[in-house]
């Protein structure tokens, strides 16, 4: 008997690819006997599924870059993992980033790759582009040099670049081309998981949409998962399936992009979305009062309370847990009242 599979049931069973549990990563510094601890990643739990784009948003120095560096296992002292775990699941094989450095090394680039912030930093200015591909990807692919070259050329054509760029030096290419190359480098091994740090921040407006479409294209073709970081909420709106909002090292809200933009549940998220300027609308946008918290000495209770329009006494003393609510999760004592305010 033939069983008909509905498209919805195909999409529904989402296998987790990445599980981050109670992750704490602090910058621990000790100068002249004075120790200082900056809690950049503080007790974060999140799960990312196969074939999903997960966006992390937050202001500068909120710990969003520290979080993805910790997830990638690309940290060095003074940033240290204090507790918690980061586990990937690649084809049924579980990989603990901080438990098995040898397996992690083998998985890097093959299963897990990284699009770095600022495409200029990826390519060596005095070597031709082809060397970058060779250095990053050759030993992970197990191909002969000529087969490798053919594969890279085919891959570049897929992402809309002329294979001739392999013979070019980075300064001969435009910013948009270099950003494409950075994405090409990260995806040539067809990894299951891609980490991207501010993939479009340094780009011109006209190039930005192209690069976003390219990321989306590569992701849907490979069926891989992406976690990316940017403070630009419009980029999240354009490609993220789910968004996580980070404030002062903590995840304060998480949910599907459309639901979050329609009904933000945390006052900070509500502010971020309300402050976005739109063409055709000149009503005055309010900016957030106060200054970003110092992560070496974060505010007590809910870390957002000194700047929050809805803060009550409870917020000053008790830190709200991240709890399921609506279609996502939120950490706020007054989550139900955010939409009304």
């Amino acid at each position: 008997m033939q069983v008909e599979v509905k498209p919805e049931t195909l999409a529904a069973p989402a296998e987790p690819v990445l599980r981050v549990e109670n992750l704490k990563a602090y910058y621990q510094m000790n100068y002249f006997g004075v120790s200082r601890e900056v809690r950049a990643v503080d007790d974060i739990t999140l799960t990312i599924h196969r074939n999903e784009i997960y966006g992390i948003a937050g202001e500068s120095s909120s710990g969003k870059s520290s979080l993805i560096k910790t997830i990638a296992g690309a940290i060095r002292p003074p940033l240290r993992v204090v507790s918690g775990s980061v586990r990937f699941d690649f084809g049924g094989r579980t990989l603990d980033v901080y438990d098995d450095p040898q397996a992690m090394k083998a998985a890097r680039w093959r299963h897990l790759s990284y699009v770095m912030q600022g495409s200029m930093n990826v390519l060596n200015p005095v070597r031709r582009v082809k060397h970058a591909f060779h250095d990053f990807a050759f030993r992970h692919m197990g191909l002969s040099p000529s087969a490798f070259r053919a594969r890279v050329e085919a891959h570049l054509e897929q992402i809309g670049l002329d294979p001739q760029v392999l013979e070019a030096y980075p300064h001969q290419l435009s910013g948009g081309m270099r950003q494409r190359l950075a994405i090409g480098l990260a995806t040539v091994c067809e990894p299951e998981f891609i980490i991207a740090d501010e993939p479009t921040t340094a780009l011109d407006v006209l190039v930005q949409q192209d690069v976003l479409a390219l990321i989306k294209d590569v992701q849907s073709r490979l069926g891989s998962s992406i976690i990316f970081v940017t403070h630009d909420m419009t980029v999240h709106a354009a490609i993220a399936d789910r968004i996580g909002i980070i404030y002062a090292g903590r995840l304060v809200e998480e949910g599907p992009a459309q639901a979050m933009f329609a009904r933000p549940q945390h006052p900070y998220t509500a502010h971020l979305i309300a402050s976005l300027p739109r063409i055709g609308d000149t009503t005055r946008r309010q900016s957030l009062p106060g200054k970003p918290p110092n992560l070496a000495d974060p505010p007590s209770g809910c870390r957002f309370h000194p700047r929050c329009p809805l803060a009550i006494t409870k917020c000053e003393t008790e830190s709200p847990p991240l709890e399921p609510r609506g279609e996502g999760r939120v950490a706020c004592w007054r989550a139900g009242e955010v939409a009304a305010a």
């Binding site: 809309g160 419009t234 354009a238």
Partner: protein, 288 residues
Amino acid sequence: MSALLQLDHVGRSYPVGGLFARGKMQAVKDLSFTLDAEKPEIFTIVGESGSGKTTTARMILGNEVPTSGAIHFLGKDVTTIRSRSDRLAFMAKVQPIFQNPFEAFNPLTTLDFYLFSTARRFLGLKARSEIDAAADKALQHVGLSLAEVRGRYSHELSGGQLQRIAVARALIPGPKLIVADEPVSMVDASLRMSIVNLFRTLRDDLGVTIIYITHDLSTAYYISDRVIIMHRGEVIEAGEARAVLGHPSQEYSRALRNAVLPPDPVAARRIINERLERRRSGLAEGAG
């Protein structure tokens, strides 16, 4: 109407190439506009990188000499300012704000030094108390106070605060015109609006005209009175901001306008998906 700033057919070219292959790169071509001295406004120059908007800013500030045309500030030709005192008087009236607040300040110098030395140089103040009062007054305009800034170094403050201090420093000499070159591109979205709102306050309360240079069309629409769109050194479209950015008439300005992603998942996704379809069909044609 008396003109605060008048640009007449201003052009700037740079020589490129070596000894035998001389060429010229025209960074700015035939640029003309006038700012009214009586009516303070936010005048925005929009363009991509390489459109000549920063060269324009540098010419207005007198850091760069136009190769053709003339720039007049309050009736005086900017390029003919020679003497030290004239230069100082001009600089007091035209102040810059730069792109990256983290790079604009020396990390080894306390921030109050910039405020104090500006007060000393342009206002000729000598007494400690007068200098402090001038710095504090300027900081009050941007929502800070001298007590918060005194003795601090640039790494101790956030990007938004640093950019506010940069604005406060520019306000000390009592300028008529502030040239802000990409002042919000390095600060993140939530602080962006506070800087942009500050410009509006300066225009309304202090009567300062602001030349706002940006590639961000949505903040340009939000605060500008007038706007010009530049492309490869030429003005493509100019006029009242709501009209130009809301309903652009030229093809290039329309493309620029459409490149702005709306802060709405449904609409933004549709744009990206359309582009994706075009990409895929383009690739299929190329292969076939």
